[in-house]
């Protein structure tokens, strides 16, 4: 809400600088987002008097003027293109050297052969009114030579009014806030309608068919009007408040909306058939051309204001073109109604017609404003457009409801705020916000939750309770906690003590982030860069993972922000590829990144989140260096990372099995599932590593030839981590090692060789390390040699050579029997 201070001062005295006022309002909860100065961008613009206006000798569209800006000073000759000027008027004169909005500088120029010493300014050129054609005609009392900034300059506060304070979407409402902050008194506007002649009833009848959605409708009738521009001062004020002046009648309704927060609408009474207004829901197929000249088909639940022929306006949202007040209109009906906020909100959203008026209806209206708004509008229309207002008003519910009485317990409020304020102190504070208080009755009850039955107080509590009599505009005050906020707000949040919690601590709970943070620390320490990517991805991203557009497990946005981000990711891979491609474009093709994040899918119709670790490696395996050849990454790099990580985090060993098969995504011969072998003997699939299929890389527009993706199921990993790790004492006895080289068929998976050795090696075989793999002479064709270092760790008893030899022998026997292996020479 834009609040011109000149307007605010009509309702309350302000002794503060605009900045100080802005801070006080902000600290009261009315956040001032900006302080704008109108006229700050004018320099050397002063009040001048037109001494003469005569035709330009050569250009018929121009006038030549003689202007003086001070008694006795040299007169200026200024060429002007406007037609609304005449001698004797006072006008804004931009002197040579003047600056105008938009950094426009004014000098001495020649226009159509005649020298012009400065410029006469229009309202538009000064940013004061929308009128760009005519010169801004000033009040004839304006002092000659007065800088215009002193005369018409203003300061405008931009106040962010929160949704619960519809009452503060008005100059009057903010004046009340100023009063609450400073202790000043609010002056309500003097509303007196100059009525005469016959009664409004004689000209107008109103029928409300839907009282629930239109609880009150007030109408007034005026005639004998002359529609034209509003007085300059009114236009300037509206512009400052951010509303474009239209005509005196329309400006009057906007003025009332800004001043009182009450939207009012005016109809050309001549366009209302049978002088009857009917508030009803739209009928099927009804159409209305709205004020923006768009013909709209009305949906059946739209609340309209109609005459017997058809709709005239969408209630509370926008008027119709047929009954628009325009030049030549002489009689108007002023409508000032109350509409159900939800109705207006839905309707404005449905038609895409949210306006200053609909905004105020949505936030709720003070009932008495229905009548006051109509009266104030009538008063201003007569003042600015002449004519007369008919006697009285049509009012469908003329009795204002009684004030809400809200019981509160000062001790309870003090406990909530952690602040010591007495009941009397609270009464004083509330009084500054216009809230009268009194002791509660003996059998009181207190509202804790809006719309629910209040809690009865026992006699002792009731004796200390107070009742707040809530003014009609404070629709936000409904429960005891609202009074607590009001007390704190008026007292100042700054007065709330700053105290660290001294209440009881909760019991122990494990931190679910501990393992994830460990994974992150380890991987970043290993030289990987952590990334965070979007979790909304495109259908194409999912299609290339094999989840097509109909896949029932994919979770899709109903109103996606864009086609690129319309589905919740089922894998971290697509966005990691995006990271690769983006960095390749920055000439950073060597990549080792990871992300920890949620992936989503519907499982049995319910959304499920799983926490994944994704790793993407591309380009060189190691940073480019002068002392070693560059080596491209491959699947073994990712395997090594996962083996190391799982061992470090969970103490578990990974083994690899071929798979998963996925055409055009994973390399058919270079993908493996990661299987964890747990102490308990259980085997759990924890993830996968894969070199990505070249076709997938091409589809992603990646340049890299070889990209490795690894995925680890962190939820699964977490379940393998023992709550308490049992390590035991270190064996005193030295370990023994034996190297053996095994010759097997070249097609023999090494994983099986290792598995056989572990199974046959007995309990003392602590580790099996493959340290050489060889094919070629002197081995036969189709053969390979795998060399392993077996490490035996004796438990408590000394391991003799015989024992080791027996263990090795049983390993070798098992290899021979199970895999047809032989020892290499």
């Amino acid at each position: 809400m834009r609040v011109p201070l000149s307007w605010l001062r009509e309702f309350v005295d302000i002794d503060l600088s605009p900045e100080a006022l802005a801070e006080r309002l902000t600290l009261l909860g009315m956040e001032v987002k900006g302080v704008h100065r109108i006229g700050a961008d004018w320099s050397s613009v002063v009040v001048g008097e037109l001494l003469d206006v005569y035709a330009h000798p050569s250009s018929p569209r121009l006038s030549l003027t003689r202007v003086r800006t001070a008694e006795g000073e040299r007169e200026l000759e200024i060429v002007c293109g406007a037609t609304n000027i005449e001698a004797g008027q006072r006008v804004p004169v931009a002197l040579p050297g003047a600056l105008l909005p938009g950094d426009r500088s004014i000098g001495v120029t020649r226009i159509a052969g005649i020298q012009s010493e400065g410029m006469l300014c229009s309202g538009a050129e000064l940013g004061l009114t929308p009128d760009a054609d005519g010169i801004l005609i000033l009040d004839s009392e304006s002092p000659l030579g007065e800088p215009l900034g002193r005369l018409l300059g203003d300061t405008v506060l931009d106040v962010d009014v929160k949704p619960n304070r519809g009452d503060a979407l008005s100059i009057l409402g903010l004046a009340r806030e100023v009063a609450a902050a400073t202790g000043a008194t609010v002056r309500e506007p003097l509303i007196a309608v100059p009525e005469s002649g016959d009664a409004t009833d004689d000209h107008l009848s109103v029928t409300v068919q839907d009282v629930l959605r239109c609880p009150r409708f007030v109408a007034r009738y005026l005639d004998g009007l002359t529609v034209g521009p509003s007085p300059t001062a009114v236009q300037v004020r509206l512009m400052a408040a951010g509303v474009r002046p239209v005509s005196n009648v329309v400006d009057a309704s906007n003025y009332v909306m800004l001043e009182l927060g009450k939207p009012v609408h005016t109809f050309d009474a001549a366009a209302v058939t049978e002088d009857r207004l009917i508030v009803r829901t739209a009928r099927p197929g009804e159409r209305l051309e709205t004020l923006d000249h768009i013909e709209r088909e009305l949906s059946a639940d739209t609340l309209v204001i109609a005459d017997p022929v058809g709709p005239l306006a969408i209630a509370g949202v926008m008027g119709g073109a047929s009954s628009e007040v325009r030049e030549g209109t002489t009689q108007v009906i002023v409508e000032s109604a109350l509409f159900q906020p939800v109705t207006i909100r839905r309707t404005a959203q449905a038609y895409g017609l949210r306006s200053e008026a609909s905004l105020r209806f949505e936030r709720g209206q003070e009932p008495r404003m229905a009548r006051l708004g109509a009266d104030r509008a009538a008063q201003l229309i007569v003042r600015w457009a002449g004519g007369r207002a008919a006697m009285g008003a049509v009012d469908t519910d003329p009795v204002d409801p009684p004030a809400t009485r809200l019981t509160f317990r000062p001790a309870r409020i003090a406990r909530l705020l952690g602040m010591s304020v007495s009941g009397d102190g609270m009464r004083d504070l509330l009084a500054r916000a216009g809230i009268v208080t009194e002791p509660a009755a003996a059998r009181s009850s207190v509202a804790i939750i809006a719309g629910e039955r209040p809690i009865p107080l026992d006699p002792d509590a009731a004796a200390e309770a107070l009742v707040a009599i809530v003014p009609g505009h404070r629709r936000d005050l409904a429960i005891e906690a609202d009074i607590a906020e009001e007390v704190a707000r008026i007292r100042g949040y700054d007065a709330v003590p700053s105290r660290l919690p001294d209440t009881s601590m909760p019991g122990y709970r494990p931190d679910p982030r501990l393992m994830v943070d460990r994974v992150r620390d380890l991987l970043s320490g290993r030289g990987l860069n952590e990334v965070v990517t979007y979790s909304l991805v495109s259908p194409q991203d999912h299609a290339s993972l094999g989840h097509d557009a109909q896949d029932p497990a994919t979770i899709r946005a109903a109103n996606p922000v864009s086609g690129e981000h319309s589905e919740l990711r089922r894998s971290l891979l697509p966005q990691l590829m995006r990271v690769l491609v983006d960095n390749e474009r920055q000439r950073r093709p060597d990549l080792a990144v990871f992300e920890v994040g949620a992936v989503h899918a519907l499982v049995d119709g319910h959304p499920k989140e799983a926490r994944h670790l994704g790793i993407l490696l591309a380009g060189a395996a190691d940073p480019l260096s002068w002392d070693r050849p560059s080596r491209p990454v491959d699947i073994a790099d990712a395997k090594g990372l996962l083996e190391w990580l799982v061992e470090r985090v969970a103490g578990a060993r990974l083994r690899w099995e071929p798979g998963p098969l996925h055409e055009a995504l994973y390399h058919p011969g270079r993908s493996a599932l990661a299987i964890a072998e747990l102490e308990s003997g259980h085997r759990v699939e924890l993830g996968l590593v894969s070199e990505l299929d070249p076709r997938y890389l091409t589809a992603c527009e990646a340049q890299a030839e070889r990209v490795v993706f690894a995925r680890l199921d962190l939820d699964g990993l977490g379940r393998t981590v023992p709550a308490v790790q049992r390590v035991g004492d270190l064996e005193r006895l030295p370990a023994l090692e034996r190297d053996i080289a095994v010759v097997v068929a070249e097609t023999q998976p090494a994983g099986a060789v290792e598995a056989v050795m572990r199974a046959a090696g007995g309990p003392l075989l602590a580790s099996v390390l493959l340290f050489d793999r060889y094919e070629g002479a002197p081995l036969g064709p189709g053969e390979m040699s795998l060399a392993y270092r077996l490490r035996f760790e004796p438990g408590t008893r000394t391991l003799d050579e015989d024992g080791i030899e027996r263990a090795v022998a049983s390993v070798v026997d098992a290899l021979r029997e199970r895999l047809g292996a032989r020892l290499r020479g």
Partner: protein, 356 residues
């Protein structure tokens, strides 16, 4: 041969041996020299083998003559060996000379993402006061994201959250789950409802996580962003405790001298509601474009949990009081690291990541 002649030959042998030792250039020739003079078939042995030609009375004196000579030669050889070894080492080391100004063998730099690290720092701070991380899902129901938080449908406050809704699951295939319309949580606040149902007071939890809003992306908005929600519920939890915690937090994150401002705000799920500001990190309070010339920057919203929210969490609002706060991790990270455009966080440009 008499003793004198023998002594002369010994002396000559000594001179020749010392000469030969001096002339050796490497350890192997030294060994040859050693063998030639002192070895089993060396000259000294050979000479001593000829003592049979001496008169019998002279023979016992041979030892006294020969031993010093042997010792002299042995000593010379040992010295020479030491010298040669040290020369050899010097030569080797000289040959191993490197350009020590060469750079080291490079390692990958590695980095942690600033958003996740900021989130961890926030959690670490509140962990000191007993807040434990409580994770809450990203896909939520309208009920928990809005209704339970006192934001009914058609409430004007809904304008504060532009929401991404989800397509309903295929009801025929799955049997309709009747838990309300699904959406992507617009804030971490539904975690409050879940935490209150799952645990009982005294309650102190922190819910970090990804949130979503239907927004156009610009320098200060994204449709995906990160929040941390804090909730503390107990009988005596008060607005004063909220202020105490937030003041400490601001000092921990932005410096012990950082000014703070506690002022009214508005959220449907808190009453009273709080907006919490810190002195502008850019101008230190004197007023600049970054803070709208106010000298203050809002870093989070907070308040006392609204009674209806406590009740929706299964707690008695007459007995319990709660404080809650929520902050944008992106915003905290931007202020801490002097970043003006939050799009950089999700762009994952290595040039940016490697600054952390």
């Amino acid at each position: 041969m008499d003793l004198e002649a023998f002594a002369a030959r010994l002396s000559a042998l000594r001179e020749r041996a010392l000469q030969a030792v001096r002339e050796t250039a490497d350890p192997s020739s030294l060994e040859q020299v050693e063998a030639a003079y002192l070895g089993r078939k060396g000259e000294l042995r050979t000479l001593l083998g000829g003592i049979g030609g001496l008169p019998a009375e002279d023979r016992p004196r041979v030892g006294a003559l020969a031993n010093p000579i042997r010792e002299d030669v042995e000593r010379a050889i040992a010295q020479r060996r030491e010298r040669l070894e040290s020369i050899a080492l010097e030569v080797r080391l000289a040959g191993e000379r490197l350009d020590v100004t060469l750079p080291g063998r490079p390692l990958r730099r590695g980095s942690l993402h600033p958003l996740v690290e900021t989130e961890r720092e926030i959690a670490r701070f509140f962990g000191r006061y007993g807040f434990v991380v409580y994770e809450s899902p990203e896909v939520e129901t309208d009920e928990r994201n809005f209704e339970a938080l006192n934001i009914p449908a058609d409430h004007p406050a809904r304008d504060l959250w532009d929401t991404i809704y989800l397509q309903p699951p295929d009801s025929e295939a799955t049997g309709t789950p009747d838990d309300g319309r699904l959406l992507l949580r617009t804030h971490t606040s539904p975690g409050q409802i879940r935490a209150m149902h799952e645990m009982s007071p005294p309650l102190r939890v922190l819910t970090p996580g990804r949130c979503y809003r239907y927004e156009a992306v610009d320098a200060s908005h994204g449709f995906e962003f990160f929040q941390v929600e804090g909730l503390m519920v107990d009988e005596g939890t008060s607005l004063a405790h909220l202020r105490g915690l937030l003041d400490e937090f601001a000092h921990a994150m932005f410096g012990a001298a950082r000014a703070t401002r506690f002022r009214p705000g508005y959220y449907p799920f808190t009453e009273p509601s709080v907006a919490f500001d810190i002195g502008c990190v850019s101008c230190e309070g004197s007023g600049c474009p970054a803070c709208g010339r106010s000298g203050w920057m809002t870093i989070l919203g907070a308040g006392m949990v609204h009674p209806v929210v406590l009740r929706n969490g299964g707690l008695d609002p007459e007995r319990f009081q709660g404080l809650a706060f929520g902050m944008g991790v992106d915003r905290i990270a931007m202020l801490r690291y002097a970043i003006n455009d939050l799009r950089v966080f999700l762009a994952n440009d290595l040039r940016f990541l490697e600054r952390f």
